[in-house]
Symmetry: C2
Subunit: 223 residues, 2 copies
DNA sequence: GACTTTAGTCACCAAAAGTGACTAATTCGC
DNA sequence: GCGAATTAGTCACTTTTGGTGACTAAAGTC
């Protein structure tokens, strides 16, 4: 990403690295030295012998010292013109970073998602699409678990889901659904955190389960 | 798509055009004159002043004489190497074609999805991803309605959903869900089709509806 | 020890989905 | 014409899932 090819690259690969910081989601930005000091998502030009997926992983490694724990392609963005590169088009990925490993290499900074500096229109669109991708995959991939430490309390897990979904959940309903899905198993550790009853720690340990067997749901959003 | 740029293009834009033919889904292929007579998805190199989305629509127009009634990006494909173009990477779209307009321009042929000729690995991956994209959007966009004529019987609609989902649905459940979603309204026409009671014709006429208000669903697929 | 705070569970109700059986209206075979 | 077959449309019943408030449990605070 640092070295700029002499000729403008036909497309770029960008990554939206997401982590949970406190009660907020945060994404990683860098200040490109050549791009008028503007903040930008990490990106690079495609390199020979490298697939799109491995390029996105390398971007994460360059920024954090280790690869994101989960990545997924968001899509190709070519309609919003402006981009830190002058590439006509960009392929974007989301990557999840557990909070422990959220220390960055020099030149990279976490920004709370609610308060981002100005980005190029195309990268702004990527951040919005990243949120939608995460929310859409939330019940198909262990996204919340990847953002938590390996053991966690059920309240922490619920707070993570609330953060990712952007809405409050009812405690009993959440736990009932969780139990039905056989996704967590209790450890024999408990954690006392200030006042209140200590909470039992759980780990992510999915078990085989009969596929939920549903019919059609017409969840149309528009009138 | 016909004219080949002198230098290999950095990427291509491909489209998976889908229609319903009889009891099967079909996709549109073309036999590129320069690519060893192999069948391929319609594709073209990016052109100046054209966004990705409009390029995919133009591909549909070139093949069918009119644009697909609905398109959506599937994603960028760069990992499977071989492609009719020698582009390193391709951006793929799905497009829906109503059955009435399924007549093709010269050089294009519909193939039933269950029985496709050999395609390049990358385009094969696109076809599989197109199916997943359609199934994933089925309850968020009026995909089934776009593949049917403007009026249809509820049995035809159910058969379309069964085709797209690849599984049988229960008649009463299907209709109950449909009614709850306020998606169709009856016309005063009936159609008698061979034997059996004539069926009432309906049209797609969504009404405003309160958003279904659900909690978390953990539909994890893997053990 | 009374009060507060957080964890964890329970019971009840409402909504949604699964299912088989029923009635209705037509064509087919005779 | 008439019964059998076929397809459409609806109903009633059961099971499952989700929403919700209230309850008990175990810690800290004063």
């Amino acid at each position: 990403m640092r070295e700029r090819p002499s000729r403008t690259s036909p497309y770029s690969i960008d990554v939206v690295l997401v982590t949970a910081m406190g009660n907020e989601l945060a994404i990683l930005l860098t200040r490109g030295s050549t791009e008028r000091e503007r903040w930008a998502l990490p990106w690079r030009a495609p390199q020979a012998g490298e697939t799109l997926g491995t390029a996105s992983v390398r971007l994460g490694e360059d920024a954090l010292g280790e690869p994101p724990i989960w990545t997924e392609q968001i899509g190709a963005f070519g309609d919003a013109k402006r981009h830190p590169s002058e590439a006509e088009m960009s392929v974007a990925f989301v990557g999840l970073v557990p909070h422990q490993t959220a220390s960055t290499n020099a030149g990279y900074t976490w920004f709370p998602m609610r308060d981002l500096p100005p980005l190029s229109p195309r990268q702004r669109a990527m951040v919005e699409a990243a949120t939608r991708t995460i929310q859409g995959r939330l019940d198909q991939a262990p996204i919340a678990f990847r953002l938590l430490p390996s053991t966690f309390t059920l309240s922490e897990l619920q707070q993570m889901y609330e953060l990712l979904l952007g809405k409050r959940l009812h405690k009993a309903s959440f736990r009932r659904a969780l139990q039905g899905a056989w996704l967590v198993e209790p450890t024999d550790e408990w954690r006392s955190e200030g006042r209140g009853r200590p909470a039992q720690l759980f780990r992510y340990a999915p078990k085989k389960r009969r596929r939920p067997h549903r019919g059609v749901r017409f969840d149309f959003l528009y009138p």
